[in-house]
Structure formats: C-alpha cells, structure tokens
C-alpha cells in the first residue's frame, strides 16, 4: 500500500552543468543531460549526432529514416526496454522530429557544417578520388567551377574521370586509372583547361572544398548550396589555418615534414583521420571564407 502507484521513479536533485551557459539538468539514474529541444544547439562532440543515433547515412531519405526509427523504437521504447529506455527514446524522438522535417533538417545540417555526402570514411565514395598503383607526388584535380561538362576527358580516360550527372561536370574517380598517355590526352583535350595537376597533399583539401556545402538560409532568403568561387585560393587559406592550428596544438607533428616513408594506406588513414578531426572546425572556417571571398 505504501509504494507509489506509478512505476518507481528515483530522480536525484538535478544539477546544473557549469560548462554550459544554458540551463541544463542531469539525472543521476540515467546520466543524460536534458537537451534543449529548440532548434538543435551544438552538442558536445562526443555525443552522437542525429544520423549516427538513428544509424542512417547522411543522405538517407524519409523512408530509410522512418524504418530505422521504428526499428530502434522497437528495441528501446520504455514499453519494451523499461524505464532505462526513457532517455534514449527522448533522443530518438528529437532526432526523428528534426530529420523528418525538411526545414529543420537543413538547419541542422548547416549547423553542423555537415555535408550530405559522407566524408572521409570511404574515400572512394562520391566526391573523393582513390589511387591506382603507388602514390605519386602529383595528382589530378578537376575544378568543377570551370568545367563545362563536355565529356571529352571521360571519353579519353574513362577509368580516371567520371561524369557527375547531377552536377553536370566531370571529376576524378581514380588517380592514374588509365595509362599516362591517355590521361595526357584527356587533360589536353579539355576546352576550358579545368583539369589541373596539383600536389598530392593539396588534393584532399581541394576535393573537400569543391563539394557544395549547404548554406544557412534566413526565412525564405538564402539557403541552398555553395562553394568557393576560387577553390585554389580557398585551399591555400584553409591550409594556412590548418597549419596554424596544428602548430598550436601539436608541435611534434609540425616537425614531421616528410610523409614519403608512409605506406599509401597509412597516409590515407592519417589524412582521413585528421580530416575527421578538423571536420568540426569546418563550420567556423566556412564563415571565414564567406568574409574572404
């Protein structure tokens, strides 16, 4: 007779998190913060983002998100998992609400400076070229701002270049995918000279920057996608900024100038890893670009 009628709920005195200017409270039983529901603030980096939470890819469509959400609900909903599922389900609901609404999702993507196209994890996927054979000091890069989509290069070296039909321009699929001769021909055949030989170190940054980024709109104004008008200038500024940050953060790595000793796989992994780390800073850098260009 003395026990409460509704499922026992042991909630400790909520605490305020001193690190946040916003008011938050914690429950000891669950150890999860009360997230501010309005408009998705940037959460701590170690927290899962909505896509990871739902286990969907960044470019997942509504159907995939719905399916994933239902699947997870069936596992974690408090009706099934008991009270422990409460906090997790709250997050699922929030993630689902945001990702299912086009406007909220756009806002969320922009806030994270996140690309719809997944970055880094699998370099061979959209937008990033892979290497055939050993790494060489120079790499091919198509400036998609200039490319007119003539398909000349794809015809001459179909293993190296590929047409992005959505964008209407060519891009490098595999570095040195064809014989040097064929590549030479295709570079020369370009009527607008948009195929460049670039330093291998620069390639990753260029390929990242050439991809359109969602931009934050204000009401009905703005929104959509954009990329720097001059990708080479942008890359320079970007590299400079990266270097400064690296210098400040890690002096040891700064001294390590020669990367030649690394195996291709190691190099790739390292590049990906460092990109991954820098990812979070992109949104800030992006603002910097807006001012420069």
């Amino acid at each position: 007779m003395s026990v409460s009628m509704v499922i026992g709920y042991h909630v400790s005195v909520p605490k305020f998190n001193p690190n946040k200017s916003k008011l938050r409270w914690k429950e000891r039983c669950s150890g999860v913060t009360c997230c501010n529901a309005r408009g998705g603030e940037l959460r701590a980096r170690n927290e899962k983002n909505y896509y990871e939470l739902l286990g969907v890819s960044v470019d997942a469509n509504m159907q995939e998100i719905k399916k994933a959400y239902r699947k997870l609900q069936k596992k974690y909903h408090p009706d099934i998992a008991g009270q422990q599922g409460h906090e997790y389900t709250l997050k699922l609901n929030e993630a689902y609400k945001v990702l299912m609404r086009e406007d909220l999702r756009k806002e969320y993507d922009a806030l994270f400076g996140r690309m719809r196209v997944q970055f880094g994890r699998n370099a061979s996927s959209l937008g990033y070229s892979s290497w055939k054979g050993p790494l060489r000091p120079e790499a091919l890069f198509v400036d998609e701002n200039v490319c007119i989509g003539c398909r000349e290069c794809v015809q001459h070296a179909s293993n190296t270049f590929v047409m992005d039909e959505a964008m209407g321009c060519a891009r490098v699929k595999v570095q040195y995918g064809d014989s040097d001769e064929n590549i030479e021909v295709s570079v020369d055949s370009c009527p607008v000279n948009c195929i460049h030989w670039v330093d291998r170190e620069e390639l990753a940054v260029l390929e990242f920057l050439i991809q359109p980024q969602p931009i934050k709109g204000y009401g009905v104004f703005g929104g959509g996608w954009e990329r720097p008008a001059n990708v080479f200038m942008a890359a320079k500024a970007f590299n400079k900024q990266l270097k400064e940050q690296t210098a400040a953060e890690n002096k040891q790595r700064n001294g390590q100038s020669s990367v030649e000793e690394e195996s291709p796989a190691q190099a790739k992994a390292r590049a990906n890893a460092s990109m991954e780390i820098k990812m979070g800073k992109f949104s800030r850098i992006w603002k910097f670009f807006e001012q420069v260009f």
Binding site: V3, V13, F16, W25, R70, Q73, K74, H77, D79, I80
Partner: protein, 596 residues
C-alpha cells in the same frame, strides 16, 4: 463466483471506509503496488509473467479482454454476455453493478437507484457543461456552480444516498475483477484501461484512484483510438506474414464514438509499430444525441423534471427508454413510431424520421467533422494518403456518422476487419500483454505503440495567457523546456501554475497544479532566467522542473524544484481563483523572446 464475490466485497468495503476517512486529505491511501514494482521492475523475472488484462469502461457498456497465450479472448459474465452495462445499483445493503446483476427490466436502471454514465462525471467540476447536461439523468446530480465536485446521489428507499463517480467506478471494477479472477483462476492486479482522448490528467488521476480502490494497479491508461490502432497494427502485421509482402507504411484514421465521448486518431503503421500522429477528442457522444432527441420529443423537458420527484423520474425513464429504442431503430430504418405513456396524463405519439434526427443533432455531427479535420491537420496527413478508415464505438452504427466520416476521407468503404464494440478492449488486451513483457513465438505480440500527447501542457505567463511547453501531439516520451523571466524588479518569488489544454487563456484549460519558486536573487526585471522543463515518460507520468539562473553565473541560484503533477485535488476550480485573489499578478512570469 459467490464466495469470490463476497471476499472482494469485504475488501471493497474496507477501501470504501478508507475513502470516507481520507476524504479531503491528500492522496496517500489509495496507492497499490504492482508485483513487478516490488521486485524492481524486472522484465524477465517469473517464468509466467502476469498478463495485464484490458478493460474498456464505456460510458454505457463495459468489456474485459485478455491475451490467452495465442489470441485475444473476451471474458463473459455468468449470463454469457461479453458487453456489460456500466452501472451500479444502490438498492440493497450491498451495492451491485452491471457485471453480475440481472436487470428485470431496463426501467430498473432508471428508477434513480442506479448510477451510470460515471465516465462522463468523473473528475469534472460542477461548472462543467457536461455535468450540467447530466442533471436530467434519473439519479441526482446537484451543482453549486463554483468549481467544486458535483453532488451525486442514488435513491435508496426514498433517501438520496450520496456517492462519488470514483466510488461507483470502484464498485464496478471490483465486480469486473471478481469475474475475471473466477474465470482465469488467478488473482488479477495489473490492468490496461482505455480512456477518452479528451480526458485531462486530473481525470486520469480519478480513474487511477478508482482502480486503486478496487485493488487494481494501472499499467497503462490508453486513449481508446490508440488501442484500436494497436489492434490494427497487429492485424496488418498478420496479413503481411501471410502474404509475405513488404511491410509498407499504412495510415489509418480511427474514429471512435461511444455514448460519452468522440475520439479521432491518425496512426502510421508499419512492421507492428503503430505511431500515433495525431489525436483529437471531445465529450460528445450518444448521450448527447439521446438528450437532444428527448428534448425534441418533449420541449419542456427541463421544467418538467426540475424537481426530480419520484413520479418525474419514472416518466423520464420511460421517455429515455423509448427514445433510445427509436435511435437504435433509425440505424436500419428511415422512420420510427414512438408511442410512450409518460403517466400523469401526458402521452407522446409521434413518427420520427432520420432527417429529423439528423437535424436535431446537427451541431454534434458538425463537431465530429471538426474533430476529424483538426486531427488530419495536426498530423499533417493528406486525405489521399489514408489507407484505411476505421469506425468503432456504439455510434458507428448511425448512418449519418458513417457517411460523414466516409465523406471527409473520400472513401467508398470503411475498414471491416474489426467488431466496432470490441476493438478498443481488444487493443487494450494487446497492450496489456506487450507492456507485461509477454512474447509470442509467432510474432503476434511483436508490437509497439508510440503515443502522442493528446493535450498541450504549459504554464500561466505573459499575463493570463497559457504558454504551452509541451504542445499537443508531441511524441511520447517527451521532454521540453522553455525560459521565462520575472516581470518586476527585485522579484524574489514566482508562481508556476501548470495547465493542460488548448485554450489561449488559462481559464479555458484544466488546472493541474501549482508551486512557488522562492529565493530568486534580487535583480532587475527580465534578468533572471527561470527555466521550466517538462518531462513525460512512456507511462504518462508528468514531472515539472523549474530552476533559476542569473546570467554570468554558472550555477543555479537556488535548488531546482521538481514536482510531479497533477497535484490538485477536488475543487480545483476554486484553487485558481484563490491564487489569483491572494497574489494577483505580483508573482507573474513572462516568456523570454528567443534571441537569434
């Protein structure tokens, strides 16, 4: 049956004596621990986990169902009835309800000795129009119109014996429980009850209280259409199993109209998961149709029955039975002859056709339409996307209702896979099995309902306005917060008054409770941030947390308050007024405009 019955009656009388002692006190005595609770809420503890039973307490009829291990089974009473009339008669020493009692005639129920329609009365104050509409019932419903609970009494040996809707419901539930225990040969503790969408949280506490008085632990209170949605989800999953087709999403509109309430829900179903996208409901139902019709037949009905004398009760009962009969007949025929002798020389001889019936009740039908449209709008569902339209409840037999729903949804046919009067209780039985952690080898219980909040919850701020913090149709469990600030310089206290509903002004909503934040550090108005956070868990428990923070300070200025709601007891209509009288606007809050 008799032995078990008397045993539980002893228990009932015990708890009733409790209720008279406890009257006016806060809630403590009526709590019942479930077995699973005492063992720390472990899902996989016993070899045979107790399956919660599903109960659908309708305004006029009631039924009980359970998952028997392979399918849903409706329990029958000793007279082989699946549907039992919801009423309690106070004729003899021991009150008896519609489960076991044999009515010699329908008029017995209308002699004033029986209390029915308790679902329309429970948790309502005497200023509520629904309570006023109940004044024409044969038993006594008295109102003082000041916002306290109405006085309800049954006529026993020419004495008006007072009772409460909770007590009546508890007596009825005890009978139901005894019946189920005898048939299942085990004690029953956990139940899943279906409730109308429009029930406020305060009304839910009254239902819980009645259950506790009857020795039942409420596992879930499920809005009726969501129970139907769960049943639909199970049926869809079964057909998928059979056809091995793809589990594509199906959108169902569920319209449930019984004697007391009308509810609408939209659910998206796929793979056994029924996600509630929108809910809407109102306290309109067959009872209103009946009363409108009675008024149509006897225009001076109000003045005639104002005295509530014995003869008047009797003639009122006669009219009621005749009208009810006529309405039932109008479902299958276009006109009906009403012939009733009301005694004292007045007779009603009339032919009523369905046009008349529809015209008299036009407002009710319009309200039904409004509810459906509102629900569609809230759920952001287009009519073309609806896969199935499900019509359940007693009023689903009325041709006008069927046409109206079909018309709005632009459908030729309605979903025919359910028995309209059994759908809700079957859904409740499914939920009972699922929430008890039962699994079925054939995947028939591989189900889940993702509920949504039927009403918005918020606090009073910006003057007399209701500021919702958790809006209507938010997916549960839910947690939202909003920042408020003080309205005057050096304001050290603030009153948090929590309401539930949809009205712009607080008076239009249900009061759930209130508490005061004290010790706000003196600061100019608009500076302290008062964060109010609301949390609803899957079992629908609402907690409100309120904390104060000064800009620049990382720590809360005072300990955070945490309150479980609702806290109000009866007479809450008074509370709001008393608060206003005592404090005026001195402890007000206003919302903080979001800075971008």
């Amino acid at each position: 049956m008799h032995i078990a019955g008397s045993g539980t009656f002893a228990l009932l009388l015990h708890s009733l004596s409790f209720s008279t002692v406890g009257e006016g006190m806060a809630e403590p005595a009526y709590t019942v621990a479930s077995d699973s609770e005492t063992t720390g809420e472990e899902k996989s503890s016993p070899a045979f986990p107790e399956i919660a039973i599903g109960i659908d307490i309708g305004t006029s009829q009631c039924s009980i169902a359970i998952w028997n291990g392979s399918q849903i089974e409706l329990l029958k009473n000793t007279r082989n009835q699946k549907m039992m009339r919801s009423y309690v008669t106070f004729k003899d020493e021991v009150p008896s309800g519609g489960v076991s009692n044999q009515l010699s005639h329908e008029h017995d129920m209308l002699s004033g000795a029986a209390i029915f329609n308790m679902k329309r009365l429970i948790g309502r104050v005497d200023t509520d129009p629904v309570v006023h509409a109940s004044k024409s019932l044969p038993f006594l419903v008295q109102t003082l119109d000041i916002g306290v609970r109405p006085f309800i009494a049954a006529l026993v040996n020419n004495v008006w014996r007072s009772t409460t809707p909770e007590e009546v419901l508890a007596i009825f539930l005890v009978e139901l429980r005894a019946m189920a225990e005898t048939q299942l040969k085990r004690p029953i503790r956990n139940v899943v009850l279906t409730i109308p969408v429009s029930f406020s949280r305060f009304q839910l506490t009254r239902i819980e209280r009645a259950c506790a008085m009857a020795g039942l632990h409420v596992l879930r209170l499920m809005p009726e259409p969501t129970a139907v949605a769960l049943l639909y989800a199970q049926q869809q999953q079964q057909t998928v199993h059979e056809n091995m087709g793809s589990g594509s999403e199906k959108i169902a509109l569920i319209f449930n109209m019984g004697a007391g309430y009308c509810d609408v829900a939209l659910s998206a179903t796929a793979g056994g998961v029924s996600q509630i996208k929108g809910l809407a409901g109102s306290a309109i139902g067959g009872e209103d149709l009946l009363q409108n019709m009675m008024r149509h037949l006897l225009p001076d009905i109000e003045s005639r029955f104002a005295n509530h004398g014995i003869n008047e009760i009797k003639s009122m009962g006669l009219l009621r039975v005749a009208t009810q009969d006529a309405i039932h007949k109008l479902s299958t025929q276009t006109s009906v002859q009403i012939d009733v002798d009301l005694g004292n020389g007045s007779k009603i001889c009339k032919v009523v056709n369905s046009e008349e019936f529809e015209e008299v009740n036009q407002k009710i039908f319009e309200k039904c339409e409004k509810l459906i449209i509102q629900c569609l709008h809230d759920a952001k569902v287009e009519i073309e996307d609806i896969t199935d339209v499900i019509l359940v409840g007693g009023c689903s037999f009325i041709p006008k209702i069927r046409n109206l729903v079909k018309g709005i949804c632009k459908k030729e046919a309605l979903y025919d896979g359910m028995i309209p009067l059994e759908a809700a209780v079957r859904g409740a039985a499914l939920e009972g099995a699922v929430a008890s952690g039962i699994s079925d080898p054939f995947g028939n219980l591989d189900l889940l309902t993702i509920q949504a909040t039927p009403l918005g919850i918020g606090i009073r701020a910006d003057g007399n306005n209701f500021v919702p913090i958790i809006p209507r149709n938010t997916t549960m469990p839910a947690r939202k917060d909003l920042v408020f600030t003080t309205v005057r310089d050096n304001q050290t206290e603030a009153l948090i008054i929590v309401y539930e509903g949809e009205g712009q002004k607080v008076e239009e909503n249900h009061l759930l409770g209130y508490f005061k934040i004290t010790g706000i550090p003196p600061a100019p108005k608009g500076v302290p941030e008062i964060n109010v956070c609301m949390d609803i868990d899957a079992s629908n428990v609402l907690r409100v947390l309120a904390g104060v923070i000064l800009p620049g300070s990382p720590h809360p200025a005072i300990p955070v308050m945490e309150v479980r709601l609702p806290t109000v007891d009866d007479g809450h209509g008074w509370c709001a007024e008393a608060l206003h009288k005592t404090y005026g606007s001195t402890l007000d809050l206003e919302t903080v405009q979001k800075k971008i």
